[in-house]
Symmetry: D2
Subunit: 336 residues, 4 copies
Amino acid sequence: MPSDSSPGARHHPQFGAGIWVFGQFVDRYAADAYGPPVDTLQAIQRAASVDGIVALDVNMPWPEKHLSVRDVKAALTDHGLRANAITPHIYTRDFVKGSFTHPDAAVRGMTIDRAKRAIEIAHEMGADYMKLWPGQDGFDYPFQANYRQLNELAIGGVREVAESDPGMRIAIEYKFKEPRTHMFFSTAARTLLAIDEMGVDNVGIVFDLGHSLFARETPSDALQLVHSRGKLYGVEMNDNWREWDDDLAVGSVHLIETLEFLLELRRIDWKGVWALDQFPFREDPVEAARASIRTLRAMDRVLDRLDLAKLKAAQEAQDSLAAQRLIHELLLGSSE
Amino acid sequence: MPSDSSPGARHHPQFGAGIWVFGQFVDRYAADAYGPPVDTLQAIQRAASVDGIVALDVNMPWPEKHLSVRDVKAALTDHGLRANAITPHIYTRDFVKGSFTHPDAAVRGMTIDRAKRAIEIAHEMGADYMKLWPGQDGFDYPFQANYRQLNELAIGGVREVAESDPGMRIAIEYKFKEPRTHMFFSTAARTLLAIDEMGVDNVGIVFDLGHSLFARETPSDALQLVHSRGKLYGVEMNDNWREWDDDLAVGSVHLIETLEFLLELRRIDWKGVWALDQFPFREDPVEAARASIRTLRAMDRVLDRLDLAKLKAAQEAQDSLAAQRLIHELLLGSSE
Amino acid sequence: MPSDSSPGARHHPQFGAGIWVFGQFVDRYAADAYGPPVDTLQAIQRAASVDGIVALDVNMPWPEKHLSVRDVKAALTDHGLRANAITPHIYTRDFVKGSFTHPDAAVRGMTIDRAKRAIEIAHEMGADYMKLWPGQDGFDYPFQANYRQLNELAIGGVREVAESDPGMRIAIEYKFKEPRTHMFFSTAARTLLAIDEMGVDNVGIVFDLGHSLFARETPSDALQLVHSRGKLYGVEMNDNWREWDDDLAVGSVHLIETLEFLLELRRIDWKGVWALDQFPFREDPVEAARASIRTLRAMDRVLDRLDLAKLKAAQEAQDSLAAQRLIHELLLGSSE
Amino acid sequence: MPSDSSPGARHHPQFGAGIWVFGQFVDRYAADAYGPPVDTLQAIQRAASVDGIVALDVNMPWPEKHLSVRDVKAALTDHGLRANAITPHIYTRDFVKGSFTHPDAAVRGMTIDRAKRAIEIAHEMGADYMKLWPGQDGFDYPFQANYRQLNELAIGGVREVAESDPGMRIAIEYKFKEPRTHMFFSTAARTLLAIDEMGVDNVGIVFDLGHSLFARETPSDALQLVHSRGKLYGVEMNDNWREWDDDLAVGSVHLIETLEFLLELRRIDWKGVWALDQFPFREDPVEAARASIRTLRAMDRVLDRLDLAKLKAAQEAQDSLAAQRLIHELLLGSSE
């Protein structure tokens, strides 16, 4: 690991995206959807049209029953893409009362089966990890849940999946809430504790910048925390207004904290893809992805100009004004 | 209006609901929906099975093209119900970039046409008001909107609808956000200013308890504000965690503030229906509505036992402990 | 007023500050204060050492009984400063249960007397307005307040002060909360409604950027709202984390929204001072003020490079990506 | 540990309080304080006048240099009280840039010395634990802190204190923020991870109900998490509006979640004191403490009537409506 003051030469970032970024969006009001349906191959094609994207996080099962894993893999390859992650749908209608924590053991079993199938596909596709986003595991109301039971089921379920194949990395993407008013895997710290309790070596975290902002974490701090425990498996990016997972274009609201986050990625020498997780309800998805990549590249170049020695000195003295001045001069130019 | 200290005898509340409470829910994750489709007549039937519900807020256009206004009205009547409000769909796919504030004049025109058609139906159905919930009017990003233009279009659009039929009351349901990250009609005060600027006499407010909590208003205070300006046209109820419009069962989280809200409804002598606006994603809608009505009736009975003279004295002295003691004794019993 | 697309040539901003920025800070934990005491003349001297500051908002009564108004005015003049506002202390120990809304009529009278005395001083000092920040008017608990009474007292009290001298402008600085958990003059819209109810012509608003962020307003939007009603009397600046009035250095957290705010100030052709309202608990106040001014000047210069015609086109189309790109290119440079 | 469904007979709670509850309050506005000064012996006397309080959390050093530890202990004993915790002042003027994480090694040393002295006093007083509330350890601005260094210093500092006396329990009271905009020991999970990293056996957590609400945790869930790791050393209670540490009377805002929290205390068979941590700025402190105790006793009695078997069944089925009905019937009476 590079030392704090010299995070080394810039590593040209490679980008990824969730395949859903290029799909059809719906919400509870525009139940007729924000646009026409998009099938899996179209979504891949759209993703491939974004310069810089080299990898996709692919949901399974995909809706088209006739498409084999080999077909999807071929489509990716044909477009110069690869799957960096496979994410099972465990938050759709069958799972609305929970996946790993569903009150019905049959659904819990179905969850585990689907996750195992996702592992197989991840192997077949050559993905870096199988991602779990158990968005329906949690609760909505006070007094609804027995929190110890919830804890036991969530941890036990992921452990079972992880133990079924120690050769595959399992990455949990935590989020504070939505669709549940309270998600079980809610914050970086809470998820690290849960992973600790699992007692397995192949479970880590997908760190979503927006989820961290939304959970009112300090993203750079939470990132180093996850990294320091050896649990950083993936990184996703977007922005929001800090009260909801708005999945906006990167750097659109929290520019300074996003810059600080990118610096932290340099410090930990992150070499994985920078994956976009956006829901451009009212924008063209391809243009929205391009915008985020353009922003990220520009921010990355800006960081090349940051005087790290001065920043280190300011931080060691906790001199907030000196640190800010460095950042403001980068973004606003010198004021003299 | 009764004086503050003696809000008069209890008025047995009559309940209403949005027809959507009994419909199919979808969100961006469970895009295959939280349950099977429900058609308009089924939804009416479900609503009618809830003891206490006498009126529905009915969305138009309903999906079934073969159903005439007369058909829907008959279905309501057959079930002992009436329409207290008609609410046009101005937040579906055609309107995702706005209804009254859509950048395209054609869509703005379509919005106004649909609202006018809703007024006709409201007359035909004998509804108390035509409700506007312009959920897509607003913006998502910094620098996206020209706020003055937004203001002009939103106010101008509603004014045009209102002026088209001074004999129908038009009620705006404000909400802080969702689906936009920022809605134009966001708070009670902001909406009252906008109504003032419209310069018409037939525009008021549907006060949604959850929206008020969500906007971090003090609901009782915001209610009296709207009432004091003569603009209270309708009341809807639910609960949430104050960061999102969760549309939970009434009194499930903010019991004390809900009780205070019901007291304020007595003070202003509200005689309209208490309409439920819930999204019971994971509960049976009929049971969820019954639960809220059971809670509301019990809260209403609890208020009968509140010593209003003592509360008045406590409030005049700003004696928070004395006021709390009255409330805690109601809910927890005497501690001696 | 300049048109939207051409806000005209840049107006070199002149800066002001609250005199408290240069005073001693205390909070409930460091009750022994964050630094040594600072007297009024020292605070003026400190302020004067900040290049760019030309005006101060001066609290009255100042602690030094021997200092006459003439003395303070002379001290300001000697340092090349003037008083742009006079702000009475109506939130200290005598007023902890309220100033205009205190349950005791004697304290309400004391409030009004002090405000009137502040008007006299404002005349003597040649201040632009007398500022009211009734931070103790509000409530802390559910059921504590009779909201109508609160409304009546707050509005009646300010009206009485305003009517006592139609020749002086009275500016209310709204804030969402603190020290009360709920302040009466909480948001721009709520305060505009209250001013409307007062029925006087000489009451307006001091718009504090941080208070607007804190109230979860969109500052640029709230600013134009206040301006459109002719009620913008003063502007203060700082930043915070949007959950509390942290009074941080300008542009330290919400850089993009601060930039948007400065653009709106150009659009409305604001010619008053840009006053700093910071509480640099752990920084040197003089350096903290210099930092904010440096940032503001640099942001102002950045705005000179903004292509307003392109922004207008983007906003008219609600094209969030195009608008963002303009801003990101200003701050991050071109990405090509 | 009792089983989930039968938390056993009610344990009559014994109450404690922070000595500061009975002291003088100040904030940044009422810098002349909310009331007259209160010395240590007066505060003890006030506390003793509250029926139910048996123990105090005592800050050191107390301001009166002539008062020995023996004097304070005697004063407690004379009033039928004991010290359950000793809390060093490590957040006053000397520590405003940090205690364990202060940039200056000399202040870090002073912090550790003071904490060690607090341990000695805790032994002498027979306290259950020495409490650390490092309210100034954290940061205010983006880019101000090197998070890894902060982590190292905070963890290393507490470890050093803990290792100095394995015979004394050291309890960290986490809080999300204030006076810093970001505190290092921010949440239950984050603090558990830090304790884990310390690698010592005598560091645990004081769980403050208000801090948990404020950190947007689910208090019952966070409580069981801390308990499950054997780290629950103390419990403090109050309420707030969930955006700030308002330190209000217990159960005044979040009645339902407070009830759920008390049930969880039964489940884990908590036998320690229920300590009040209130800042009754505008109320009489003795009356404010009495009010919270009255409320807590009444809530405790209410829980005796809760049908735990039915609650268990509802929770196992995640039946939110059934669970709520049980709670609403307790608080509102039967609705039939």
